[in-house]
Symmetry: C2
Subunit: 343 residues, 2 copies
DNA sequence: TTGAAAGCGCTAACAA
DNA sequence: TTGTTAGCGCTTTCAA
């Protein structure tokens, strides 16, 4: 039973109401910018809110059916700086809009992914940003059925009809490959990412397309399926370098693997870029720091985060917003890791 | 008024109760591991929970005075990888304990810092981890007064009597300086971090102490006060290198600044480590990736996060746990950025 | 434009 | 060991 008089340590809406000499319903209206409040009343209430240092209780608001002003974000991990960049874009935008951030790292466990989404959608958050989801099939149905607002970042897999933002992976890979071809390379090794990720597939396709466009035969032996991890980049590169007729350039599907490639090249006693050219993908902060600086395909990570957030906020404001899929452009960043092949 | 029968889309404790043929209070007991439940009853309820896919509503639980199973964490930003490492330590530990993570980035705004702490402490989270807080004075009092559990990470400033975990900054700086001295350096430049951070002060003191121990005069002209940022590291290094009698080694108070130092050194046409030795602090992932690999003082960042989390969880379990301040050891990681000075 | 009151889903204190 | 019930602080009808 409601007992307005009886309050805890914290300042509640009742304190404010009694101080302001209005009913607590009115205070609630002021809090929620309900237009049906006289300006003077609103001002009076706001003044009391200020004076008392009142802050809404999120749980209560959420429980009563209001908004939580929390956006949940699901990321696979925080290891690579790659995700960090995206989060920064999200965070900045959310802060501007007055939303808080609930972060979950799934560590690539499908179970966790689905669990988190379930609990988040249950009222913890108003909306969800799914970064690099690996098994969205498991819960996108639920989310949809509940009309729960969400946006995918960098997925491009199944669920082509979900709100999503990604980067032009195909185009980026095409451009990078073209660049190598124009330098004179014809034996270009390629190291893929997880092939269950749409982004990884697109990059491989871009690479293939560029080769075809320049009438360079696509050779399976120059392609290694890998995982986006540095160590696997290293191993794949070793593999390629041990070929009887090794490539003169290696294109890694992300920068982290490109770092691994560099390790491998050095270990073989080869020089970058004199003996072998290397291209990465992402343009993580390290790419410009290492020596030689890495030529790579820039993904606008921060932007992707910020655009995704804006899409979500729009959805939050108007659930009927038509589904958008945005693809941000990628760009080749030419640094010092490529050179024409030795002839 | 309570209306058990009338339920929303979501499965609530009432569904479970009626399906299991018990009262909903009993279900609550099962949920909270209350020992006063018959084993069979517990099993029956648990089965129904499973079947229905019931998940507790966090807001309701929290509102009713229960735990939220959320730990708030406050970080200055996510830019450097430094914080990312700490968060990973926290995250892993929290996951193990079944807690969720609410992340706030303050972007070094004192107002935000205090605001967030206020709202978090109001019931959003059960406990708080404050990473690298810059103005804890503003709210530690409040937290204390409310008996709200919190742990500081890497602070070491005021509030010596708060639960905190840090690293042996003094020792690390001492060891690194000693290493340079043993290589034969006598003119060792030092670039500080924000001097309002205890860690930064400790590092400077460690540097001074090592010099004194080896009877090398401490020269103000070789010290530059800086900010932990790469660009400022660059500028400070430029400044030092432009000295009529420049140092033969530079010790930067963190790795990020050391990267800036490297830029400056290269821009002056000098070679690392032949012409000038460089030491950093932190051992962020980049440190081992760059070329030449950076000799640095390793901070056990992940460990710091994990230890802080364990302390918090202990506090959560037993608020009467005596205040601990833990200092984790640092260690010199010798790589390729140092060499004896040219004679 | 305002007030009154019915819940949101749960915990915990009190009875039984 | 279990059932019952009073709130937790708020939003949102429904009246006035």
């Amino acid at each position: 039973m409601r007992t307005p008089g009886q309050v805890s340590n914290n300042i509640t809406i009742f304190e404010v109401a009694s101080q302001a000499g209005v009913s607590y319903g009115t205070v609630s209206r002021v809090l929620n910018n309900d237009p049906h409040v006289r300006v003077e009343t609103r001002e009076k209430v706001n003044r009391v809110i200020q004076d008392l240092g009142y802050v809404v209780n999120r749980q209560a608001r959420s429980l009563a059916g209001g908004k939580t002003h929390v956006v949940g974000i699901l990321v696979p991990d925080l290891g690579t700086g790659y995700i960090g960049e995206i989060i920064q874009g999200i965070d900045t935008e959310l802060q501007l809009a007055g939303y808080d951030l609930m972060l979950y790292t799934t560590h690539r466990t499908p179970v966790l992914e689905a669990d988190y989404v379930g609990s988040l959608a249950q009222g913890v958050a108003d909306g969800l940003i799914l970064v690099l989801p690996r098994h969205p099939e498991d819960y996108i149905g639920t989310l949809r059925a509940r009309h729960f607002p969400f946006v995918l970042v960098d997925h491009q897999g199944s669920g082509r009809d979900c709100p999503a933002v990604g980067a032009a992976n195909w185009q980026g890979a095409y451009n990078a490959t073209e660049y190598l071809v124009n330098l004179g390379h014809t034996r270009i090794g390629f190291i893929t990412g997880w092939m269950d990720l749409g982004a990884a597939v697109d990059r491989l396709e871009g690479y293939k397309a560029a080769l075809w466009a320049y009438h360079i035969p696509f050779l399976e032996e120059l392609v290694r399926e890998s995982t986006f991890h540095q160590l696997d980049g290293y191993n794949s590169a070793m593999d390629l370098l041990n070929l009887p007729n090794p490539p003169t350039a290696i294109f890694a599907s992300n920068d982290v693997m490109a770092l691994g490639v560099m390790d491998a090249v050095r270990e073989k006693g080869l020089k970058i870029p004199e003996d072998i050219s290397i291209v990465g993908f992402d343009d993580i902060p390290q790419a410009s720091i290492i020596h030689p600086a890495l030529t790579t395909v820039r993904q606008p990570l921060r932007n992707m985060g910020s655009v995704a957030t804006q899409m979500l906020l729009e959805l939050l404001g108007n659930p009927a917003t038509p589904t958008k899929r945005i693809e941000l452009p990628t760009g080749l960043v030419v640094r010092d890791s490529c050179r024409p092949p030795r002839s």
